[in-house]
Structures are given as C-alpha cells and as structure tokens.
C-alpha cells in the first residue's frame, strides 16, 4: 500500500486509521436519509459519539417522480438512530441531472397526489385479498425486526 495517498485521504487516515468516523465529514455538505423517509441536505456542523448530527442550512428535499422541491429548514438536529444513510455531496462536481426542480407548493401538491394514488391502490389490493380470504398485516403492526 502506497503511503502517497491523496491529501484528503491522508487527512482522514490521520485521525483514526482503520475505522470509519464522521470527523472528516464535518463542515461538508451532506445528504442524509432518515428512517421516516425524509431526505435532508445540509452542512454537517457537529456530531457526537452517538452519531447525532447537527445540520446547518438544511433543506428538506422531496422527490416525486422526476420533480423535486426544496423546503428550507434551517438548523436540524438529527438523532443518530434515525439515520439510514449519510453521504457527502460534492459541491464542485457538475450536477447534470434529469431531475427538475419545482416550487415548494408544487412539489407538496405532487406528493399529496402521489400519496393519494398509493392509498387508492392499497385499498383496492386489500379488498381483493379480503375477497379471497387472505389478509396482509399492515406494516405498522409488524415487529420492526
């Protein structure tokens, strides 16, 4: 293994070699997916030993289809256990995406429609199953593990 790693990696390695740590992610822009499905984007300002996160200039991004909308949220403190994944966003990298940004109202409306459609299909499915004498327990009744 060459010791001539890029500076960034060397910096990382210096702290705690052989481990994963959030220390190097501080003050960088991140995207975090929470357990309730929300996506937050913000600058990670502080962490603690439980991986609780403090985000600055946070934006909640809602995706519906190919559209997305950003809701500015300010400062967020996320409890560590609610994080599904967390990844750094490279601000320098050119963003060529097919996604189209829309206004907040529009995206919320889209989301509402999406939820509605989902509920409709779910209802139909349950009815069909019921007719056949089967039942699928709802997700919130299941033991999480």
């Amino acid at each position: 293994m060459s010791t001539e790693l890029p500076a960034k990696e060397q910096h990382k390695m210096n702290y705690v070699p052989g481990t994963a740590s959030l220390i190097d992610d501080i003050d960088k822009k991140h995207l975090v997916l929470l357990r309730d499905g929300r996506t937050l984007i913000g600058y990670l300002r502080s962490i603690d030993q439980f991986a609780n996160l403090v985000f600055h200039q946070t934006v909640e991004r809602i995706h519906v289809g190919k559209k997305f909308g950003d809701i500015p949220r300010g400062i967020f403190i996320v409890r560590g256990e609610n994080v599904v994944l967390l990844g750094e966003i490279d601000v320098d990298k050119p963003c060529d995406t097919v996604l189209q940004q829309v206004s907040i109202e529009e995206i919320l409306e889209e989301q509402r429609l999406q939820q509605q459609a989902k509920q409709e299909t779910e209802k139909v499915k349950m009815q069909v199953l019921k007719d056949r004498g089967l039942s699928v327990p709802k997700a919130d009744n299941l033991d999480e593990y």
């Binding site: 060397q10 210096n14 003050d27 600058y43 403090v54």
Partner: protein
C-alpha cells in the same frame, strides 16, 4: 516521605484547566513536567503576549516572556513542601474525587496512571496541539523537583482545600460550574468573547494581578489555614476580571499525560480552538502515531485557514471536541484480544506491513502505515444484559421491546438427549454437524488466541498454565469431534471431514493436539482417502496438507508403514484402484509423496529405525506398487514435490524405471523432480 519546600506557589491550582483525575493517580514528576509543558503553549505570534499560566501542580511558575511581574521565580534549590497534603492526600483523593465524580462529565474515563517508562519520556512522541517552549522550561525545571512532585499530589485533591473552596462559594455555585474552563464545556462561555483568544491569556492576566499582592512565600511549610487563606484570595482575585465566566474554581481534575513528557515545540495551534489542554493518557501508551499527530496538526492548520475564508460557519465544532469524540471512540474500540474482535483489520494491517517490509528492502526510511492504537485503559466490567438466576434452567424469561416474551432456549438440550435413541434423518445430522463445527470453531479461536499469547509471552509459570489450558481445550475439541461417528469404527471425524469448514477446523486444530490424536487423525484421513477425495467437491482437502505433512515428518518408521498400509488398502478398492485415485487427486498425491519422502528421510538418516516384523517388506512392496502406478498413469500436479523421491526410487528400482518415473513426475509438475 519526601517533603516539599514551602515555597510553592499556590495560585496554580485554580489555573483554569481541566484535568482527569484518578483515585489512585500518582502524579509523577514526568507527568508534572509534561503537564507543565502543556501550558507553555502559545501560538508563535500571540496577541498581547502573555504566556499560559503554569499548571497547578507545579510549584514553580512559568515566567512570562513579556516581562510582566511574574510570580517569584524560584531558584532550583527551592522545593515545595506540602507535608500536610501528603498526610491528607489519601483522604483527600477520595473525598475530593468523589465529589468531583458527581459532576464529572460522564464521558470522562478513569485512567490508571502508569509508571513512566522509556516511551513516556520519549521526546519524539509529540502531543497534539502543544506549542511548548523548551527554553522556558529549562529555566526553572529542576530534576530534583521532579522527584518531589511524585509525592506532592495536587493541592486540589486535598479535601481540605476543596472544602474551603466550597465554603465561600456555596454548593450552588459549585454545581453550576464544576469545570469552569473545561475544554468540554468550551461552549459554555459565549463563543464570541473567548473563542478566538488563547485561553491562557485570560487566565494568566488574572494570575498576574494577584501575585504581587501576596506576601512572599515563606520557606516554612504553610499551615493548612495559611494555604486556605491564600487560595481564597486567589480565587477572589481571579474571579474579578471575567465576570461572565463562572467563578474560577480549582480544577478538580489532574491533568494526566501520556506521550510527550518532554516539551517539544509543536508547529501548530489553531486560533479558534481552546488552548486549554485536553485529556492525556498515562505513561507508556501513545495514542496516535507521532507522525500522525504532526501531520494531523499541520493539515488542520492549513485546512482551518482555508476554510475560514470560504465558510464563516466552519469550526463550530472545535478541535477539542473532535478530539474528544475521537478519543471516546478509540476507547470503545480498545480490546484485549484484537485478533478475536477485530480480525479483519488486524489481518489487513499485517498484510500491509508484510508488503511494506518486502518493499522496504529497497527503500529505506519508509514511513510506517498508520495503525490504530487505542489508548491503554483498564477495561471496566462488561455489563451482561442477560438475566440469569442461579438454579434456574436456562435463561429467565425477560420481556424486552424486541421480544415481548422470550422463550427459554431449550432446543439444543432436547436434541442432545434424543440423539442416541432416535435415529435422525440425514439432513438433521448434517445440520447438527454444521452447528457443532461452528461451536468448535469458536473454541478453536480461543485456542489459537492463547497459543498466540503463549508465543509472545516467554514461558513463565502462568505461561505453563496457559499452555495446559490450551492443550486441554484443544483435546476437548478433538473429543467432541470424535463423538460424531458415522457408525463404523474408524469413521470418527468423517462427518467433519466431509464439510469443508470441518476440514479447515481440523487443519487449524492439528498443531495444538497431542501426538496420539494427530496420529489418529492421520490414520482416519489415509484410511478414508478415497471417500474423502470423491466427496471433496470444493477441493478444500489441500488445507489439510500442511498440518498433516508436519505430522508425517514426526513419524517413526513403523508408524509410517502403518499409514502407508492404510492408504493402499481400502475395503472396497484394491490397491491398484486406490493408488490410481490417489494419483489423480492433488491432495492424495501430495500426501503420498510426503509419506514416501519421510520414509526416504528415515532410511537415509542412519537413525536406527526399530522396524516391526514385516515392515521392510511392506515398504518395498509399497514402493514398487507406487512406482508402477506413478509411471503409468497421468499424474496431477502435487502441492509439493519432495526432492528426495527420486533418490528413493533409485534405491529400489532400475535406472530405466527411474527415468520413466522422473519424466512422468516432471511432466506433471513442470519442474525437476530432483534439484540438479
């Protein structure tokens, strides 16, 4: 008991620093000096220059570089003496510490201070973030002083002092501000006010003021009362200049250090981070590789400067806080047997080192790859969450949020009882074997771990005990495996040997077993070789080759003959068929070669062989059979081709046959059967 001179400056103890204290801490002179050096730090171009105030333990204050009236500089001859502290120290430790512990940061760990050793005195081990001025030290650092430091302890730890300090302030205030200038409480002060200024400045300016006012320290030992008066005065004085900070209370915690005990100028101090020092760990352990720390500080310095231009909100989390978290995580990472708990990292690191060692043969002075070295801290008792009541059968049924009602795990017990009576089906059997393999593997890991410890620790009395235990455990695994029998005698171990993981288990176990056990295993393997070879779909038999080869190397002639007999005489197959199969299997062929090679070695060594009756005949017969086989069928490439095989054949066979054999063997392997 050593006595310290009375000419101690008492104003040290409320130097606004944060320390970790341990009940049994013995402040060593080295640590004292090192902690002193801690406070010598200052960025190279400080704003209104005042050096950091000296740490409390040290009786001799650090002189200010700017020439402000400094605390009386003590001549090397002066020794601080605190006889009463020594008396009361034992009590003081306890009393003061328990109180401290109440308010202490829960993340702070108890650190056992070790004796200083060579490493701790190593000046190459740099402490992070310290800018220390060697010259300042040498002015007033006294070698003899260091010895005395050992016994002086800290003023703060004396319960009497603590009481007095409590008194005027009252409990409320104490509760409010146990660590006035704690690095972890760094956020308590309004950031704007203090964050950008080196903390030491503030502290020292306070200190400077009261110092000239105090009467010159007399040379007699101060009575406790006198001392308290002093401290009271100092406290009040230091409290004045900064009303926003909590009243300065003596830092309750000793600053322990590890790593650098001699000061070294450090290149860096971040202006935004609190210069008040963070925790140090005792004596002999370095936390981060010294080059790590240098690089770390350099990188930080650069990044800090860059970042502040771009991002006004950066560094909300100070370096101190980051370090704290890192330390916390490191402590959680530490383990007594890393090979067991962190196998993959250890293996990875070992491979990197091996590779670098290879490369380094050409390149000198190569830097070591960074390794995670966790701080050395005695581990506290692990909390066992499983509730077990004595006399109960198995686990107590405890409701948790994940398992509202937990059944007692009795499944395995039931199975064990019925194993002899009820004939199990094949699948059940196999499952049992698999689960048994897993269990035995865990035991094997323990055996290997203790074996590793044995090799590192030279054999002492406990080494002998450990060896015994290792031996016993290994034999235990052996007997466990032996019980699994396919029905026939000589069928022990076979269920394990049919599973590739079982083969691995056996291969790793063999080095630890007694000789009889290893012989037994060799016997089993060779007797059932055809079956094993046919059922070895994953080709994992070769894993057994090396350990078995070691076993073979220790065989006597008679034993060897017996093994060869096993190999060549199977119940269902004739010798010819056996040998054919053997020749076409990598493992089998290698085993055969190993056996023959051992025979040749024994014969040519000249050691008296003590053969049994018929041994030599069997031997020669086998040779001829094998030779015939080897020359006729196509051979696979063996794992290893012993060099003395042809010598062996030359002994018994004519030249033509030998040549033929040679060609055949070489064509299989691709290299010469005999080193030319």
């Amino acid at each position: 008991m050593r006595t310290l001179t009375p000419t101690t400056n008492f104003f040290f103890f409320f130097f606004p620093c944060h320390y970790v204290v341990d009940v049994d801490a013995q402040v060593t002179a080295e640590e004292a000096t090192s902690s002193l050096s801690q406070f010598a730090e200052l960025p190279p171009t400080p704003p209104p220059a005042s050096p950091p105030p000296p740490p409390p333990q040290l009786p001799v204050p650090k002189p200010c570089p700017n020439g402000a009236p400094s605390p009386p500089r003590h001549k090397p001859q002066s020794r601080p003496s605190f006889p009463y502290y020594q008396r009361g120290r034992a009590r003081g430790y306890r009393g003061g510490l328990y109180r401290e512990h109440m308010f202490e940061d829960p993340a702070v760990m108890r650190i056992v201070e070790g004796r200083p050793n060579i490493k701790s005195l190593d000046s190459a081990i740099v402490d992070f973030g310290n800018a220390m001025y060697r010259e300042n030290f040498e002015d007033w650092m006294v070698p003899t002083y260091r010895k005395n430091r050992r016994d002086s302890g800290s003023l703060l730890q004396d319960s009497a002092i603590v009481c007095v300090i409590d008194g005027p302030r009252g409990r409320g205030q104490r509760l409010d501000s146990p660590y006035p200038f704690s690095c972890f409480r760094g956020r308590r002060e309004p950031r704007g006010l203090y964050s950008r200024r080196p903390f030491c400045q503030r502290g020292l300016s306070q200190m400077q003021a009261p110092v000239p006012e105090t009467p010159a320290f007399s040379r007699q030992p101060l009575t406790p009362r006198q001392l308290y008066n002093q401290t009271g005065r100092f406290i009040s004085h230091s409290g004045r200049p900064c009303p926003s900070t909590p009243q300065s209370l003596p830092p309750k915690v000793l600053q322990l250090r590890f790593g650098a005990n001699s000061p070294t100028p450090s290149p860096f101090y971040s202006p935004s981070s609190n210069p008040v020092q963070h925790f140090r760990f005792p004596g002999p352990v370095t936390q981060l590789h010294p080059q790590h720390k240098r690089l770390l500080s350099q990188k930080q310095r650069i990044s800090h400067r860059k970042m502040e231009d771009l991002d006004p909100y950066c560094n909300i989390m100070t370096a101190k806080e980051k370090e704290w978290i890192i330390r916390l995580q490191m402590i959680q990472l530490q383990s007594e047997n890393p090979y067991l708990e962190d196998y993959y990292y250890q293996e990875y690191y070992r491979r990197i080192e091996a590779k670098m060692a290879e490369e380094e043969l050409g390149i000198r002075g190569k830097r070591e790859p960074p390794k995670l070295t966790t701080p050395y801290i005695t581990k506290t008792e692990a909390y066992t969450p499983v509730v077990h009541i004595e006399g109960s059968l198995g686990q107590v049924a405890v409701s948790t949020c994940y398992s509202p009602r937990r059944a007692i795990s009795a499944v395995h017990g039931v199975q064990a009882h019925t194993s002899h009576e009820v004939p199990k089906d094949i699948r059940q059997q196999r499952l049992e074997v698999l689960s048994q393999i897993e269990k035995l593997f865990m035991t094997l890991l323990e055996v290997e771990e203790s074996g590793r410890k044995n090799s590192s620790v030279p054999s002492e009395s406990e080494g002998g005990q450990l060896k015994e235990k290792t031996q016993w455990t290994a034999e235990h695994i052996y007997t466990q495996m032996k019980q699994h029998n396919l029905g026939e005698p000589g069928g022990e171990f076979l269920p394990f040997l049919f599973v590739s993981k079982g083969k691995k288990l056996l291969a790793r176990l063999l080095p630890f077993l007694k000789r009889e056990s290893t012989l037994k295993i060799l016997h089993i393997v060779t007797s059932n070789l055809p079956t094993l070879m046919s059922r070895d779909s994953e080709e994992s038999l070769p894993v057994l080759y090396q350990p078995l080869r070691n076993v073979i190397a220790a065989l006597t002639f008679s034993q060897l003959i017996r093994v060869l007999k096993d190999l060549t005489s199977s119940e269902s197959l004739s010798t010819y068929e056996c040998l054919t199969l053997v020749c076409q299997n990598k493992f089998g062929l290698s085993l055969l070669y190993a056996l023959l090679s051992q025979g040749e070695k024994l014969l040519s060594s000249g050691v008296p062989l003590e053969p049994s009756i018929g041994d030599f005949e069997t031997w020669t017969d086998t040779i001829f059979q094998v030779a015939g086989q080897l020359s006729q069928c196509s051979l696979v490439e063996p794992l290893n081709l012993p060099s003395n095989l042809l010598t062996l054949f030359c002994r018994y066979l004519d030249k033509r046959t030998v040549c033929q054999l040679k060609c055949n063997m070489e064509s299989a392997t691709g290299f010469l059967a005999l080193p030319s």
